[in-house]
Symmetry: C5
Subunit: 81 residues, 5 copies
């Protein structure tokens, strides 16, 4: 799983049906690389999250018919080194 920051929302009129009504979040990693994820936990802009990829990401949506390959897995409260 990877660590990302939520940087915005993505709007697409034409998109595949397999994403149903899921909102899409734009994420950025530590190197500045952007990614797009579905969000089953309700993260807000500016929050740090961890993400789940692949088939686990699809199952994380609570419905494996949702055709994502990246889902937010949780909002990071803090991290202890």
């Amino acid at each position: 799983m990877d660590i990302h920051r939520v940087v915005g929302a993505l709007y697409c009129t034409q998109r595949i049906e397999g994403l149903y009504h899921c909102e899409l979040r734009v994420l950025k990693d530590a190197k500045g690389k952007l990614a797009v994820a579905t969000d089953p936990v309700g993260a807000r802009e500016g929050e740090w999250v961890f993400t789940v990829s692949g088939s686990a990401g699809r199952l994380a949506m609570g419905d494996n018919k949702i055709l994502t390959d990246l889902a937010i897995g949780g909002i990071i409260d803090h991290w202890e080194a």
Copy 2:
């Protein structure tokens, strides 16, 4: 899911049967790296899209017999930071 720009169409006389009659798009990411995707949404050259990879990409084609590993998931209208 990743963000790409559609840069062209790819023509291949000899290709695997498992792609049926799907058109192939050439995409470029923010770093200039090229990728090839199938397109269930009808994106045009120059448009920014997000892409779905792996088995979700195959399911995105509406028929999981289509042997792609990357499908365009939607055409980006705008993005709100």
Copy 3:
């Protein structure tokens, strides 16, 4: 499988149900890139581990309903070149 060092623990009040009560570890690879993993072997901070990704990582948890995409596979004792 990849080689990582355990650098801490990750705390998230809001997270997907599919991770059940699994603790999350923050890992760092040789290049300093961070990752998040579930831990079926009980690794401690500072230890070097190898990690298993994808569906094998999920199965490594002993229960394939656990929605991880990266699990610690073992604690490295030593390595012989």
Copy 4:
């Protein structure tokens, strides 16, 4: 899917049975990184191809018992920007 150039053939006396009698091709991407693929379309040295990865690559061989993770998906005739 990715774009590669065929640079040679790979010979291995000892290899897993799950590759049956498939020939292996050595490929190079735009950055010079090498990869190894099975080839269901008959590409020749010097040709540009696109490749299919993961389980789709296995299915591309026409027999999902063939244990590849990368298959040549087609020979590129031309590409229109």
Copy 5:
């Protein structure tokens, strides 16, 4: 599939049961990045091999209960450009 060189053996007293009694090899790619793989072909230190990732790697072990995500697929004899 990728090209790696075998650089050593990895010893782990505490590791997941799903790897059974498989020995683990430490591999290095052309850029010096390390990886860990199971080995169904019996490669020795210093040999160049190609590796199979994902679910194909698991199947390459001859038993898909073995929880690896990378298996050595063959020992490279030579390669013809």
